[in-house]
Symmetry: C5
Subunit: 246 residues, 5 copies
């Protein structure tokens, strides 16, 4: 079935993002990956669409995919079409690691009409051509609503001040860590998805650990499952994950 | 077995609602969907019954169904009969995403005998002909009972005042979001099921996120698993979900 | 193996109760149910033993059984023997919905030697001939032990007063709702099992929801998984659940 | 492979204990149990080693085994060797109900050099020849560390006083209930495993329920999954659980 | 596929660590382990790389592996390559017991330029030639962030003082217990992984239990799943776990 059959589902602002995770079914016999590779190549040939592929460290999963683009229906179609290829006979879906989100500009970013803010907003809403760092880490996040530690009970100004300090701390990792934060409230069980791209595995630990002492995380942060993998072009990621092409 | 064998199980007020979710078993070989399509068409041919079908985004599930009608036994019969068709050989049930509920008019809505309130009550108790927006989101909800944040310890008047403000905020999304809230206490592990119908994926995020700052959600809301899918007529939803007809 | 081989395991006071739940394995091919039906008929032919069968609404399970009688070993034997019949080749056990309990008279019921209290105690300890209402709902329950809300830290007189009010509210549903509360502490992960028998699905929602505002539930109640099904004589319940006899 | 190959793993004080649980895979065809029975008999023929076997009530599991003896490697070897017999083709392991622990004398028991305390310590550290009561119940336990209810923040003298009262209440059940408490901290996710042996099912409910009002449990007790079964000699327990010998 | 294809993923400081756990699939037929043994031998033949293998006690898993070395990609390649050998046809991965971490020197260890501190830092960052004690225990850990018990809200000096006392208590177990603590924040759902190597099973209970009374654990410690196993050279560990070589 051609994927163009799906009517679009485009956010009125921002792009869609799907984080997908798969385990490889035993026995690990060779499988034809050509059809899947062609689907990914075609997808990436369309404007503003990208796939980040990674082989997952540990036993949590084997293969991870981050799909990004303006139309959630198009991302869904790629996901569905991949599952109709021979490759899918070796894959087991890991729904507990799957997340649906959309890109957003921070609500705490004041739009002063400057080109700087416009560029910042654009880079957050339309994260084109994400670079292939050696590792990718993603995890979902929510703000705590428990007794005296209720983020959603804070006045906007307090939240803005706290988030400003949080962001400033995060920016000290610029260069070492490329960070993408997307909105998941209502789309997943969590409120945001954080994706980190790094070359140094220690940088993942450093940024997540050091920011945990910031009040936004220390007092108000709730974190879900962390997935870490080795990024590579799709065909290479399949091999690094253990999928031997036939 | 003809489904008419089941004695009715009709709520004395309101209709029954079943939210069902399925994954597609690998390999995704073509399957005959004709019998399932005929069952759904027959069901919808009876008065006051409707099926909303959607292909689920992400890996949480593949196909979702919302069944609504006056008789829970009739909804159950459709569910059971679908599982006896060839289509069911490709489906895996996802019980953790399944919810049983019944429609209700809000207890905080004062019945002043006016036609306006009568119409409002009727639209909540008998939600006929729900429109096919591009996306459907559903999730279960409960009110918190924890320490100082115990909804069930609040006087009725306080709850009424809080819910009035909550509803007023919700109404600012009228047009962008069509919302159906059904009662699940005693029928599911949660107390209510929220179903949202939208054309803009961002509208799901906006309404759930913005309402989270309202005291009813911020302090008293507990939320379960969120499922989001692309709505389509049943035969098309099967294809969009990845079920290729033979 | 004849079930009479099992030495008895009779509570010194009260009867045993098993709540069992099963899903039906795909594909739903016809299966011989005759042997299972004969086992249930023989069980019910012995004194003081009863089976309530129901097809479960939603995807949580397909078939539910409530086994009740004076000897836990006899209930266990029926369960085991059912699993040795051809019917069992279509059933998947759902241990997360299974509960072991025994009947009990309330500890807060003062025995004043009157025939009224004696009859009440007898009806709770020996619930003979439970009626077949259209629906059955069961769920496990525990009393909270958290910070200031610790039921087990309350003096007996306070608990007695609270439970008296709780029971009085429950009795306003007499007629609409038949309720059986059995003791599960030490036998299951929860402390009690509540079984409701009703003809009106809305009555389940009404009684559980309205009692949640009573302090016993609002402040001290913890609730587990709710299972709701359509009650029918055993052979009919099998058909309503989707088990087509061969 | 002969089990004597395993180097010993003996606690410097106390014995090892394994609680194991299994479900029976469908279909329940006859299976040869002779090899498994021989392994258990050989194990019990060695000094200070015992197997308690029971068929589990409800759907949580079907067969339970309690292995006890001085050397954890020897217990492990029996477990491993049982899984290499034909019986194991009918068994599914239930890891969520499995516990590893070692016997211990209470740290609150003052060693005054008396023969009474020496005998008490010996009976706790070396529980030889546990009797076959009709029922066995086991569950894991931890002490709470939450806000104001933090057992591990209490001075030793307070804990000793509380545990003395707790033990005195427990001793009122002597005769009706035989109780074995073993240490699991670091060996399992919980801190202790409680094993109860009784003839009257109601005695399980009575002792666990009544002790829950004692401050040690009411305020500081956390409890895991409860497993209850019918005890019998190993070959009979296999039959009671539904394993028909070929 | 040769494992050298994977580009390196070396932390800028410290080594990578993978904790892996497997169950053995029934039936336990003989399997060729030669290829897996050759892979492990080759891995250990490269500098600074080690595999600790153990058969797991209880039913939580059957075989455990701890992989350590400077390059996470190399550890991943061994994991992946093992799953392509015949041995893997008998193994089922247990992702819930898998952890990714990196070695670290304690942040509370002041670097005074002395050879003593340099040696201590080196032994923590580069734990070469871990000894084969009879038992290995591992578990993940996080620091609590709940209400008044929020580790991440404490000043550095308070944390340093608390950790100093905690470490001093831990050092009283030197000799009986060899302890490795690795950093998991951002790499796993937990913040640290603790690995204990002992000859006496009671030493595991003693160290974890006694340290639980220290304020760092009592008030701020959160603990995940504990896995305990019998350590042996890889080929012997396979046999002790129940994998019979063909």
């Amino acid at each position: 079935m051609p994927s163009e059959e799906l009517p679009a589902a485009r956010p009125s602002e921002g792009w869609g993002v799907l984080h997908l995770a798969f385990s490889i079914a035993a026995p690990r016999e060779p499988v034809s990956t050509a059809e899947a590779e062609a689907l990914v190549a075609a997808f990436e040939g369309e404007p503003d669409q990208q796939v980040l592929a990674f082989s997952v460290l540990g036993q949590r999963a084997d293969l991870g995919l981050l799909l990004i683009g303006p139309d959630l229906a198009r991302l869904h179609a790629l996901h569905r079409d991949l599952l109709a290829t021979p490759l899918a006979t070796r894959l087991v879906e890991r729904p507990e690691l799957s997340l649906v989100s959309i890109t957003e500009a921070s609500e705490y970013l004041e739009d002063d009409g400057s080109p700087r803010v416009a560029a910042l907003r654009d880079s957050r809403l339309h994260p084109r051509d994400l670079p292939l760092r050696r590792l990718l880490c993603y995890y979902p996040m929510a703000k705590r609503r428990a007794g005296a530690d209720n983020w959603y009970g804070l006045p906007f100004e307090d939240r803005k001040r706290l988030m400003y300090g949080h962001g400033a701390l995060g920016r000290t990792f610029a260069g070492r860590v490329l960070q993408l934060i997307t909105a998941a409230t209502g789309l997943s069980d969590w409120e945001w998805v954080v994706t980190l791209l790094v070359d140094d595995p220690k940088a993942i630990k450093d940024v997540v650990y050091e920011m945990r002492y910031d009040e936004v995380s220390a007092r108000y942060g709730e974190f879900g499952a962390f997935v870490v993998g080795l990024v590579a072009p799709f065909p290479q990621a399949l091999r690094e994950a253990g999928l031997t092409p036939s």
